[in-house]
Symmetry: C2
Subunit: 434 residues, 2 copies
């Protein structure tokens, strides 16, 4: 018998991601149509563009050497310069108008690394982070692994409810806990999991409110804009970052995983200047710089216009998928049974079933759905346990990113059958305690 390994407190606080179970289901049952996994459309992955750009880079001896050698912890300077111009350009602004230079941009190993580094940089055990309810479950797990307390604020069609946030902040001030509040995590474009977008009015209110509570120490906003460029309807909205003219409060996180290719595992962030040195020190310990070849590749795709072309094509592909899902939902379900969001972009639709329907992993509905061959993410995984009252158990996240249009239609029909059979069954069964 081997003596046990003593693991750190951090390790004990780090739980399995609930999504692992669903990934496994999809692998084990090839007949299953998964609307659970947040992967991207496979057909549109930019193989030809990537191949051409890499051939260009690798056939130039000097460029090849630069791309295959170590880069810097901060990231490739010309790429950071391009990303800054492009990103502030989305808001119709210049770097100077936002007190920004390329030094305020860092390249990360996907946006997940940014989220992790920010948690590590800002939160000691017992410190407080605020998230939307529901929110991105992977990051909730990350914050919990750091020993942080995650408080949440409800959402409606306009995104986070700012009045509810104001009440929460007032309460934290009364109890003195506001001094432990370090950051708010906001996914403000076509949010994961709801597909909702924070309205312009609320963006301004949010920033004003947070700056107002930053009198003795700064409370930061981590703006996860991963889905921003995947907009299928309506005009773009200003980023929170674009409203932060003195670059004091907003950390903007972006990724190439959704608009380009997840296999490149590359993201970037724009952040307050006094956070950059601590961030680079910590990233130096993690990896002293992300994959350098991929940075050169992305720089090339941005410079030659392939990236913009690709995003435009991708929006066509996902628009059709979203439309197929919304149409199938309205054919399959009655508005009295279930309500769903109508996202202008991104990859997610959020379902809320009417009273008493449970969507949990052991629910009648989930068993029926697996029997029919369709998988969703139970909404309860997207809510934080504990400090925020009971977790709703009647919701579900559907992703229209991976499945084809015919598969989406078929999957929603299967979900409809599963729902009806579970309702028929539940009338015969005693009410579940969960």
């Amino acid at each position: 018998m081997l003596p046990p390994i003593h693991l750190s407190t951090r390790s004990h606080q780090t739980a399995d991601q609930p999504i692992s179970y669903f990934m496994q289901q999809a692998v084990e049952n090839p007949r299953l149509i998964s609307l659970a996994a947040g992967l991207v459309d496979a057909e549109s992955l930019p193989a030809a563009d990537v191949q051409a750009a890499l051939a260009d880079i690798l056939s130039s001896p000097a460029h090849a050497r630069a791309a295959l050698q170590y880069g810097t912890t901060h990231g490739l300077a010309p790429l950071r310069e391009q990303l800054l111009l492009r990103t502030v350009g989305l808001d119709g602004l210049t770097p100077a108008a936002l007190s920004l230079s390329a030094d305020d941009v860092v390249i990360t190993t996907g946006s997940q690394q940014l989220l992790y580094l920010m948690g590590e940089l800002l939160l000691d055990p017992g410190d407080i982070g605020i998230a939307e309810a529901p929110s991105y479950f992977v990051y909730q797990g990350t914050l919990t692994s750091l020993g942080a307390r995650v408080l949440s604020v409800p959402m409606d069609e306009e995104g986070m409810d700012i009045d509810a946030l104001a009440s929460l902040l007032a309460r934290l001030e009364r109890t003195g806990e506001v001094k432990r509040l370090r950051m708010l995590y906001i996914c403000d474009y076509f949010q994961n999991p709801t597909g909702r977008t924070l309205s312009v009015r609320r963006r301004r209110q949010l920033l004003d409110l947070v700056k107002n509570y930053s009198r003795t120490q700064r409370i930061l906003i981590l703006e996860d804009a991963a889905y921003r460029e995947l907009r299928y309807d309506g005009p773009d909205l200003p980023s929170l970052k674009s409203l932060d003219a003195d670059n004091s409060t907003v950390i903007l996180g972006m990724t190439f995983s959704k608009p380009l290719a997840p296999g490149l595992k590359t993201g970037y962030a724009i952040l307050p200047r006094d956070l950059m040195t601590p961030l680079l020190r910590l990233k130096g310990c993690h990896d002293f710089g992300s994959n350098n070849l991929t940075q050169h590749l992305i720089q090339r795709l941005l410079a030659d216009g392939s990236y913009d072309r690709h995003v435009a094509e991708l929006c066509q592909v996902y628009r059709a998928k979203r439309d197929a899902m919304l149409e199938a939902l309205s054919e399959e379900f009655d508005a009295s049974e279930v309500k769903w969001t109508h996202p202008d972009g991104g990859m997610y639709v959020w379902l809320a079933f009417a009273g008493g329907v449970n969507t949990g992993p052991d629910s009648t509905l989930m068993r029926a759905a697996l029997h029919e061959g369709v998988l969703y993410v139970p909404g309860q995984f997207c809510h934080v346990n504990g400090a925020n009252g009971p977790v709703p158990t009647h919701e579900a996240r559907l992703c229209f990113g991976v499945a084809s249009v015919p598969e989406i239609r078929e999957a929603i029909q299967r979900l409809g059958r599963a729902y009806r059979s579970s309702q028929a069954g539940s009338r015969k069964l005693p009410v579940l305690t969960s």
Copy 2:
């Protein structure tokens, strides 16, 4: 005036890497020949191999889609399988002989990510890690940032002094601190910074000693074998992992940065089975999987033999560079003035100057070296401050990886001139207090 940002304890414990200063020097002074930076030979970077392999992958639609989509946190399964066979093959063994399967292999974002994750997984603040003296300074900084205590054990030509380790362990047992000892970090092939290799005899002694102290809880050995495949003389030695037949004690860390290309930022590890689940949970929070395209690339380079061919060529290149450095040192310096190591592989030669010569960043020698146009890493950066007595200040690390053979000769001549001028100067100056 902006209110300050409150940073975490971890952030405050994370210092700038001392190497940053030297990287900056090299950037600012193009005339300088840097023997400081641990980059790799630029001419031999495998641009053509990488281009061909990527073209193969990206021109097959199914393969391209797999490589550009999300991978798994664990890493590409066929790659893990290949790496396991190859790595145990270096020791003339089979996976079964070492109780290993591909599930015991994980792909990491360079080996630095493995080192970080292991620190995070095993060490709470105040826990103890043991390293060689001198050791890899980046990892010392990482362990310090985790709040760990780093104790060190002196080395000689055979690597870590096992008698000194035995004394240290006995002392930790007497004081009761042995229960806080979590791991030993050992770079056992052509060590960074000394170029020394742990002898076979000592490998066995080390493992026996550590297993002997693992009675109530397991003490782990993190074997950093980054340089193993870069051997220019003599027979290969068995890895510590190959002596750990029950896969209980040794975490073997390997990287493609040195034998292939640092720009790919990909490494891998083989580790005890009961560490894998906690490791994957934590890596899930960091990035839920390393760059997937690069994993497919490396899999292809291994499968088609390009990797083996490349390593063989690289050994020729580095052998010539090492020989040039050793020859230039013996032409330029007298054995009474300075002693240096004669590495059988890797990228580093370690210098120890005779009594009274200070190599530190503000020393007369460093100023003279910068004036002559050559840069080295002061040895003091490779020693842990504090618990291990005064830090030696008369040593230097030289890297023969980056500079060409003529540059290496020129750099050593410059170092010789710097040494002689600093000695002449120091006879005129009062003795430095450092």
